[in-house]
Each structure stands twice: as C-alpha cells, then as structure tokens.
Point group: C2
Chain length 378, copies 2
C-alpha cells in the first residue's frame, strides 16, 4: 500500500487496539505536574533572551502554561520505544505464527532506544534478535541492548550506513526487519502514549481540579508536544488525537539541520537525509515516509518547532534539578519549545488567552549516564 | 526536661499527631519499587569487592532484598526536612500565638536542606526567618533558601562556627531558634516519613501482592534504613516504629569520621564533634543529644552502618541511571549499606532467610546540580 493510503488507515481505533494488545507488557508511566516549571513557562522571557532572534526588540510573549509530563523515561528500557516494539512483534506473531517468527528472528537498526526495546520484546517473547547500532551510541544504551539481544552488530551513525549493515545481516540470516519508526504497527504502538496521557490527565483533574482552570470538566488537554526524530511517536500521538480537540505539535533540535521535519514542512517536501550530531541523539534521523504523511497533515499536526542545543540543555537542567527526574537530551525538546520558542509561545498566548493551555509533554526517554550528564554541563 | 526523660515521651502517637498537623503543607511522596535494584542487592558481591575488608577471603553474603524507596527527594524543597520545619513552626505558633512569633521571627543554621525547609515554612506561615548557612553549601541549596528566607547569613562549616553566627543573629534580633535536628518537634515531624512508608507499603502490597513474598498479608516492612546526620530523621522514624515489628537501621558515610554515630555506639559514648567533608554534605554533623538517646536505644534502632565515598557514588549512579530519579549523595547511604556493607548483608541473609526482607529506604533529598553530578563522576 502506498504511504498516502496507509496513512488514511491510521485511525484512533487502531491505537486503542494496540493498547489492548501491549498493556500487559508495558508500564503505565506516571503523568507528573510541577508548579515551578509552570511558573517559569508562564513568565515572559527576558528581552536579552530574544537577542539575535527574529523577535529581538519585541515584547516577549506572555503565555499561561500548565504542564502535564508523561514520563516515558520511566517506561521499560527507559523509553517509549518499548510500546512500538512490543506492538510490532506481537502483530508479526499474529500474522506469521509464533513458530515461523521464532525460526526467522528479527533485525533492526537504532541509535539505541529502539534497539533496547526490540531486544527486550524479543527476549520476552522468545524470538531471536539481531540489533544494528551505531558504534558511537551511548554506552548505557549499548549495554542495555546487549543484556537482551541475541546479537549486537555495530555500524556507522547515518541512516544509510545503518541500513547497509541491516541488509548484510539479512543476507546471512532470515531475520525479518522491524523498522525503528517508519512502520504502521510501530506508529500505532507509540500512539498509545497519547491514549494514556488523555486517560491520566482526566483522572488527575477529576481528583485534583485545582491543577487546571479547566477543572474536572472532562474536556481534554489543549495541546500535546512530542519530540520528532523518525517521527513514530509524533505520528502515533497525532493519530490518537486526530478526532479530538487536543492540538498536537512536534519539537526538534535545530543543530546541524536536525530540524529536518520543520524544514521539510516549510519547503513543502520531506527532507530525506540528516547528518547532525545534536546532543538529542535520538533525533538525528530524518522523518520516515509514512510518518511524514501524518505529520505534514495540518489537521493532525498543527506545527513543528525547533530549539538550540543550549535551550535543550537549559530544559534538561530544569528537569533534573527541579523535578528530580532523569531525562536524556532528546526527551526535553518539547519542554524547551514551550519555554524558549517565541513563535510557539505567541501561539499559546494568542489562542490560550487568560485561561492559558494545559500542555502534555512527552519525556520520551531517560537513557543517559552520570558521565554523559557531567560532559554536557562541564 | 533532660534528654532521657524527653526521649521517653517520644511515642508513635506523637508522630501521628504531627502528621495530622503538617499534612496540608507537605507532599505525600511516592514509594517506588525497582526490579533491577532488587536483583543487584540480591546478588552476592564479588570476592574482589571484599578485598581489604574484614570479610576478605570469606564467602560473600547472599541476602534476598526487596526495596521500597520513599522518595523524599520529591518532597517540597527537595528533602524530608520540610516535615520537621513545618511541624516545629506550627507547634511554636500553637504555643506562643501567631502574633508573638510573627513579631520575633525564627532563626536556624543548616548545611542547606533544613535552611530551605524553614525558609519555606516561615514564608508560607508569614513569619520572618533568618537562616545561617555554611558559605560552602551547594549553590542550589543557597538559591533555594534565598527564594523564601527573610535573610541568609553565611558562616563556617562546622557546628561550632554555625552556632556562633546564630548567637550573633539572636543578639541583634528577637528571633527564636528552630534547631535543625536536635529537637522534640523536629523529630516528630521527620518521623511522619516512617508513618507514610508503612501506610504506602501496605497500600502497595494490597494492590500488587506479587511485589513481595509476604503478599498482602497486612504485616509491615521487615526493616527501614535512613541516613544519619544530626539524627532527626532516624530518631523520628525509629519513634514511629518503636511499637511495631519493623526494625530500624541507620546509615552514615565513613569518610573522615562522618560515622560519628556508629563510632559512638561502639565506644558507648556520643561523639560530639565531626570535621568531615564527605560528599554526603547533609551528614557532616554529629548526632544531636536527644537523637542520641533514641538511636542508642537498641529496642528502637538495631544498628548503624557505614559506607565509603565510592560506595555512595556507586549507589547514586544506580539510582540516577536505573531508577531515573535524581538524589543527592546523602540520600543513598542507606541503599549503599544494603548493596555493599557485608556486615548488614549478613544480618539480612541470616534473619531474612529464603524469604528475604522487604526494606524501606528513605531517599532523604535530591538537592544537587548537574555540575555537582558532573564533578562527582568526572
């Protein structure tokens, strides 16, 4: 099926079905709030912070923001990727039968979190797994993958280099490729993050109506923002919310052109290659074909915004020091957009007005090391 | 009243009363479990790890341990100290009347967490506060205190130096001293940590009996271990559990003699002065007089154990990288004892047998910075 038609069949009910299937295998990660971060986000940036941007000299935006943080850094293997991996593998077994999948095994390539996720899902379901990882991946991600995978094979760090090694593995085995993001079942699996955000937000407000001016009115979040690397998480979440009032946004690092999705939307054409070494190491890949079909649909994703490396680091510092929660740099690009991206903040000010917005933030993962944190802030 | 008699009147009902009073002002912090850490704790140490210890050449202990982590790093101001500070101040207002306390103000000295806690409690209850802090306190703790305190005054880092500056403040104002740990009401306030651990443990097992071999039998934890600096937390928790089967233990850093409580117990006499620059900066003070009366009572606290700086760092790494939760070094000495102290591990193996122990660990605080983490692990 061509990507356009396939994208049409990505509906909220598919995400519900995925959730029913993977629920026994994943954590329902907590949805946290934090007054300090709400306060910072609801304070205009200083005029200094806008120097050198298109907003220099203008009045800084004054949005009112209440955050709801979906902590997928506390997910199994430390990232949302467990959702897609379990879903894709369970569907594969449904389609081809356990015996055949067990005989052939599965293969994938990933900068780390999908690698660990597929290794975990495979070992849980007794399927052999071959995992291709860039040799420059974070040590913790390599170790985490080795703990479960049948075999780890190293490659260069660009998509092209990784895909070449996958082809090599496939030429030597019968292993079936489970793509890291550009795949119908992966998208539905990651979309379950959105389903849980909505469920937990409504539960939370029912018990603590003081957390939002909206109170326990039973209406959903105003917006959800997720990181975009390959785009599986964003496309999945956008699929879930496609029949609801909740707006979905995406966030990317701008460093060395890692904001390929944002640039692609601007140019009206998908950017197919990225060579960035942004600190958001989960976001160094171009958006996949199927994901692009979803994300470039204005009715599904309202906009994609980019942040600098310094803004990512500032957001990461706030999460570690104020929320006391460990996140990897990729995980906080959505928060960084809400705190520092003037274009986005103006939208919230304009559309949210005095009431402001309740914004769901997906902390996509927490796989880092104390040494890596030390290096970032030394 | 002399410390002995005062210690006698520290009863579980006093902790219940404290809880009723402070509940509206504090967070009921989560009680977390973690399979990875249970697995590590339930695996014998390598023979290499015992080299240079009294256990060199012996078979490493093989205890079975299930952890229940009380996350006071997620408490208001990032540490359990909020409990004692609110309790002491609310009792003071009860005794002297709001008007008088407001006119006189309060003063204290602290390496940081009690400073922040009293500043928060005072600003919440509209009482002026003068806070004496060692000038070498962590930046985040100084900043956190300045945000709420009426005035911050700096001092040297030993208890003697701090107390001199407190006396100076008192000679210039009418401020009433709220001691950081050696105080009846502070102890009762910190003891509410123990009360919540028990409540939450029973709730958790009722919903998830698979978390322990004890299942939802309604019986309490086998043991609780807390850090000991001035001893307020440990004495408070021991007070709460003094009429229950749950054993209470204490943990200290051994570096430069910061294990004053353990040494005092060994010698049969309280050590009154400590000059240690252990990375557990909340644990650099000697145990207070009243706290000593509780902790040296074998019926209340079964034992105090010490760990090295390297063991504290190893425990801190595990908590940050595996649990994805930010803790300060002082917070993990209890966990470090469970993972690395052979003497303690032998007790658990012997007394816990095949069933093992459910151990409550108090993560006492999370006030650190990304720079401090970087320095520790560079």
């Amino acid at each position: 099926m061509d990507p356009q038609s396939l994208a049409q069949s990505l509906t909220p009910s598919k995400v519900h079905a995925a959730h029913a299937l993977i629920k026994p295998y994943i954590h329902r990660t907590p949805l946290l709030t934090n007054k300090t971060l709400n306060g910072i986000a609801s304070t205009p940036q200083t005029p200094d912070a806008l120097k050198g941007t298109p907003y220099e000299g203008q009045t800084p935006a004054a949005p009112t923001i209440r955050f709801f943080f979906k902590c997928e850094n506390l997910q199994r293997i430390g990232a949302f990727k467990a959702r897609g991996a379990f879903h894709a593998l369970l569907r594969l077994i449904e389609e081809r039968g356990e015996e055949e999948v067990r005989r052939m095994g599965v293969v994938t390539h990933s900068s780390g979190n999908h690698a660990q996720a597929l290794a975990l899902a495979s070992s849980t379901l007794n399927i052999p797994s071959y995992i291709v990882m860039p040799s420059i991946s974070t040590t913790s991600k390599i170790e985490g993958t080795k703990a479960y995978a049948t075999k780890v094979v190293f490659s260069g760090s660009t998509s092209t280099e990784r895909e070449a090694v996958v082809a090599e593995v496939q030429s030597q085995t019968d292993a079936i490729l489970i793509p890291p993001y550009d795949d119908f079942n992966i998208i539905c699996g990651q979309g379950t993050t959105g389903l849980e955000i909505e469920e937990q937000y409504l539960e939370l407000l029912a018990q603590n109506p003081q957390l939002s001016v909206h109170g326990s009115s039973g209406s959903g979040l105003d917006a959800v923002i997720t990181p975009i690397g390959g785009g599986g998480l964003n496309a999945g979440v956008a699929t879930f919310f496609s029949d609801k009032k909740t707006r979905v946004f995406g966030a990317e690092p701008s460093f060395e052109g890692a904001d390929d999705c944002r640039r692609g939307l601007e140019a009206g054409e998908r950017v197919t290659s990225v060579k960035s070494l942004t600190i958001g190491d989960g976001l160094r890949t171009p958006v996949g074909l199927l994901n692009w079909e979803v994300i470039s649909d204005k009715k599904k994703v309202e906009g994609v915004f980019a942040v600098t490396e310094e803004q990512i680091k500032a957001a990461m510092r706030l999460v570690l020091e104020r929320m006391k929660v460990v996140v990897e740099p990729s995980a906080v690009v959505g928060l960084a957009v809400c705190l520092f991206n003037e274009e986005f903040r103006r939208i919230v000010e304009r559309e949210g007005g005095e009431e402001g917005w309740d914004i769901g933030i997906v902390f996509s993962g927490g796989n880092t090391t104390v040494e890596a944190i030390g290096k970032l802030f030394s």
